[in-house]
């Protein structure tokens, strides 16, 4: 750990119906199962939070860089899809083997701006360089990132 490292802490504890509650500074939120295969599940799974966090990570980095460069990004939207290598391992299916983690994450990002495409490209490249979660997950998960500038 170097001298300028910074850390964050959240506290998570059990709650009813298999949920956990996560306390973050003065906020809290509920986490459902690790992953859920029920499209009508009332809880947000840990996996869905992670995918949301990855999307939020990149969007916030794009906005931060654009602000510094005084470039107006009217709207940014992304669809993030994560795929488990073998979900049957999580479900403890007898006879199934393999890796229980994510195999790949796909992101398609739509950036709405009237600015020059070249400037947006530079913002995009800078955002990929500084986004903490993207850079962390890229070390272990195959990332497929696409972006499109729309007007």
């Amino acid at each position: 750990m170097n001298d300028i490292a910074y850390h964050w802490t959240v506290r998570v504890k059990t709650r009813e119906k298999g949920e956990s509650i996560c306390y973050v500074r003065q906020h809290n939120f509920l986490v459902g199962n690790a992953v859920s295969f029920d499209t009508e599940d009332e809880s947000i799974s840990a996996m869905e939070y992670v995918l949301g966090a990855i999307g939020g990570d990149l969007i916030s980095s794009l906005k931060r860089i654009a602000k510094k460069k005084r470039v107006a990004l009217d709207m940014i939207e992304t669809v993030v899809t994560g795929e488990l290598t073998n979900p049957m391992v999580y479900l403890q299916v007898i006879g199934e083997e393999g890796f229980a983690g994510l195999n790949n994450v796909r992101m398609k990002v739509y950036i709405s701006s009237l600015d020059d495409a070249e400037v947006i490209e530079q913002i995009w490249n800078d955002a990929l360089r500084i986004s903490p979660l993207i850079n962390t997950f890229k070390k272990s998960v195959q990332f497929s990132l696409e972006h499109k500038i729309v007007f």
Binding site: F37, D38, E40, M88
Partner: protein, 270 residues
Amino acid sequence: MKKPILIGAVLYDPKVSVIWEIIADFFSENKFPVDVVFYTNYELMVEALINGHIDIAWNSPLAWLYSQHLSGNSCKAIAMRDTDQDRISYIIVKKEDNLKNLSDLKGKVIALGANDSPQATLIPLQHLIKHGLTPDKDFTYKKFNLLEGKHGDHIGGELEAFKSLEKGEVSASAMLDLNWKTWTSDGTIAPDKFMILSETDVFDHCVFTIGKDFNADVEKQFLDVLFSMTYDNPEHKKMMDMEGLKAWEKGRTTGFNPLKQAVELLNYFK
């Protein structure tokens, strides 16, 4: 706490685990705890049933026959879905090919599902043999062997077989009546271009199976809880819609004869 009964089930899709969670919760609420043990294929699960590692198996029709094969016919079929009873498989052809009956398939290629699919491979083959067509002599076949071990529960092989017919690679394909109904309704199959050439005998599908040593009182308690599930209850309806049933019925074995004949004709367990 009462010791849970162990129910075995094969997962062909992670979504199926949701069905079993609802069933397990319902049994727990009714003071009959069950644990569901998932298996990757039917062979493993049937062997677990015969070896006493699980108490009840949710068997495919082929897994039922395998249970009987391994146990010396001592297993018991105790319950099934209403939709498991009286199923039919169809031999589908293109209308434009002008095929009128099964004998017109002589010299043709027929697309089938997975090696172990009762509905899309084994029973259709039995049907063709019964009507005088010998495989590899009178016709050849192309199998779409997706996810072997799951006994065609994963209907991908059946769908691939149809797509092969659609592309003109083969002259016919086999599929379950329920899939024909779904696929002609959702646009997967154009009903004006394809037709049912022939129907197999009716057969039964999945069944809850127990071994000979399963306690009769526990069996009765299990069935009492199972049969108390109703389509009118919204929570049960969700599970029943996902699993494709409106009611649970008593198990019967009379509907396994076409598959039994197929297994014997094809020496499947040899």
